[in-house]
């Protein structure tokens, strides 16, 4: 039987908190700071790792949305090419979050190249609007993802992760991922 990843993370956190923490001398400040940050990181990963694919799919969709706005303004051939590849990846059957992240990063680079190439003031203005509008969902997602880190002055203003991932989970998660998530949720309840 393959060990459950959530369980492995949970016991590692428990060991660090319950046993290792008390054995680190209080005057070893560097070790204590590193241990505290490591525990917080593992707890964060435990909360988020099962949503990695949904996160990657949603981020790619958001970036495609921004790129489509840009393409309508600029008609840039290079951007169109990268956009086509990203659309195929988003509609494809991959269940590899890293692969989707690579498509997203390439698309973001292509958008930035368009920003750098634009010189006409009217076009620049439209590009600016497209990026500002197109960034909103992406930043909401990033903030919702990072909310447990505790850096938001007013957490109530940040949409829930379910809200910002919702569309992507419905549209993009391959069945195997959805089944796995459902199984994990049911095993916890």
């Amino acid at each position: 039987m393959i060990p459950d990843i959530d369980l492995q993370l949970a016991v590692a956190i428990r060991a660090l908190k319950g046993i290792v923490w008390d054995s680190v001398p209080t005057d070893n400040i560097s070790a204590r700071e590193n241990l505290r940050a490591s525990i917080a990181t593992l707890e964060f990963v435990l909360q988020r790792h099962s949503s990695q694919f949904s996160r990657a799919a949603a981020e790619l969709r958001n970036t495609i949305d921004m790129a489509e706005r840009m393409a309508r303004i600029t008609g840039d051939n290079e951007l169109e090419g990268v956009l086509g590849a990203a659309r195929s990846a988003a509609a494809g059957t991959t269940n590899d979050a890293s692969s989707l992240d690579r498509y997203r990063a390439r698309l973001s680079s292509a958008i930035c190249d368009c920003v750098e190439r634009a010189h006409d003031q009217a076009v620049k203005r439209k590009i600016t609007e497209a990026i500002i509008l197109g960034s909103a969902r992406q930043f909401d997602l990033a903030r919702a993802w990072c909310l447990p880190a505790g850096f938001e002055a007013d957490p109530k203003r940040v949409p829930s992760l379910e809200e910002v991932l919702g569309c992507a989970e419905e549209r993009d998660s391959p069945p195997v991922e959805a089944d796995t998530q459902a199984a994990k949720i049911s095993s916890k309840t």
Binding site: R102, I132, A149, G150, A153, D154
Partner: protein, 404 residues
């Protein structure tokens, strides 16, 4: 430069370094520090440094300055701070040496292999000397600007007593509420405003004496653009991937840089958390972290101190307090009274974009890069705080939306 097929920033070529330097001209000392960062990037990450190693380096540095009539005692790591390594110690002299009192508590402040903000110890040393007597600041003693004696560039300054947050209150900040009670708030806010005004009104002749800072001209926006270039260059050197909004922000900042109406010493990180105070009498004992100081526009500090990331709510859960200390409008009004300088709303808007841009670069580019290359003794914490970058990016988007 936007290609991500290979991470060209991980082990940058001479051509890459030269191209970035040419595209984004900055002050000579900033250029020196950033170029050194890039040429050293391929070197190994941080490896644990013992207190004994630091003692040996400190002894060599101090010996080169004051001779050998001293003993170092009570070396210990200091907590906090994501960007530098800090060790406290006591310097005991035998009375033969007159460059320091007989037992002086001191702090070694040293860079890691690469820091979340890569800055100049020479500039920090010089600005600390300048502000001595203007605002509470630790006396600064010795400088090892290129790591001749210590593993990395470092300086030594006096140990200041006090805390940066009320003891026992640090956890509450997570909820967005101020950790300063009304009484403490009032006392600290008075000093907060007065000290900022004092820094910004240091006489021009003294400011012009700084050797490692490029002067800023009245009526020109060159100094502001140099600063935009600084962080745009760092974005180019450190980022893991592109973020279109950052390119847009950099373009807007260059195209809309306001001409300087008055050159001031700008602290660069003037905020709650960067001063120490004694709880018994609510006195600020030292302003810390001068590494981002520049000669520039006072509005940079004014917006930094009040930026959304630094705001906290008063007990009514409505009133936003700059740094959790003082309502924002009151902060600006009292600053005008204390400094005799005008607070210009247009410049506030400009520097809000600038400061958001800067935080995004620190967190989404440099923090990520430093942690991924294992360059500090606090990589787990550095990777953790890089998540602030997402709050800052959203704020940058909002700021740009307001000005466009």
């Amino acid at each position: 430069m936007n290609s991500i097929a290979k991470d060209v920033r991980r082990d940058p070529s001479d051509a890459f370094i030269a191209a970035v330097r040419k595209k984004y001209p900055v002050e000579p000392e900033v250029d020196h520090v950033l170029t050194r960062k890039m040429t050293h990037r391929h070197k190994p990450g941080y490896t644990a440094i013992s207190l004994d190693t630091l003692r040996t380096g400190l002894e060599a540095l101090i010996r080169s300055e004051v001779g050998s009539h001293f003993v170092l005692d009570n070396l210990r790591w200091l907590p906090g701070g994501f960007s530098k390594i800090q060790v406290a110690f006591d310097l005991e002299t035998d009375g033969e040496t007159h460059k320091a009192p007989e037992r002086t508590p001191m702090v070694l402040r040293m860079e890691p292999a690469e820091a979340i903000v890569q800055t100049s110890r020479r500039r920090e040393f010089e600005i600390l000397k300048l502000v001595s007597g203007v605002v509470p600041a630790a006396p600064v003693y010795w400088l090892d600007h290129d790591g001749k004696y210590l593993p990395y560039p470092a300086l030594v300054y006096g140990f200041a007593p006090g805390v940066s947050m009320p003891l026992g209150g640090a956890q509450e900040i997570k909820g967005g509420r101020t950790v300063f009670g009304p009484g403490l708030r009032a006392a600290l806010a008075n000093q907060f405003v007065a000290h900022l005004a004092a820094i910004h009104t240091i006489p021009a002749a003294r400011v012009e004496s700084l050797r490692y800072f490029q002067p800023a001209k009245v009526g020109s926006n060159e100094s502001v653009i140099r600063q935009v270039n600084w962080w745009r260059r760092v974005w180019e050197e450190d980022r893991p991937e592109d973020v279109p909004l950052v390119n847009l922000a950099a373009q807007w900042l260059v195209e809309n840089a306001p001409p300087l109406d008055r050159p001031s010493v700008v602290h660069g990180d003037f905020r709650v958390g960067n001063f120490l105070f004694t709880e018994s009498n609510a006195q600020i004992t030292a302003w810390l972290d001068w590494e981002l100081s520049v000669i520039g526009d006072r509005h940079q500090d004014l917006t930094w101190a009040a930026m959304p990331l630094m705001r906290r709510l008063a007990e009514d859960d409505r009133t936003e307090l700059a740094g959790g200390l003082i309502p924002i409008e009151e902060f600006y009004r009292r600053y005008e009274e204390a400094s005799g300088l005008v607070v210009d709303p247009k410049r506030l808007l400009y520097f809000r974009v600038f400061n958001d841009f800067q935080v995004v670069v620190h967190m989404l580019a440099t923090a990520w890069r430093v942690a991924s290359l294992g360059k500090t003794d606090k990589d787990a914490a550095v990777a953790w705080i890089s998540m602030i970058g997402n709050v800052a990016t959203a704020s940058l988007r909002d700021s740009l939306e307001k000005v466009l």
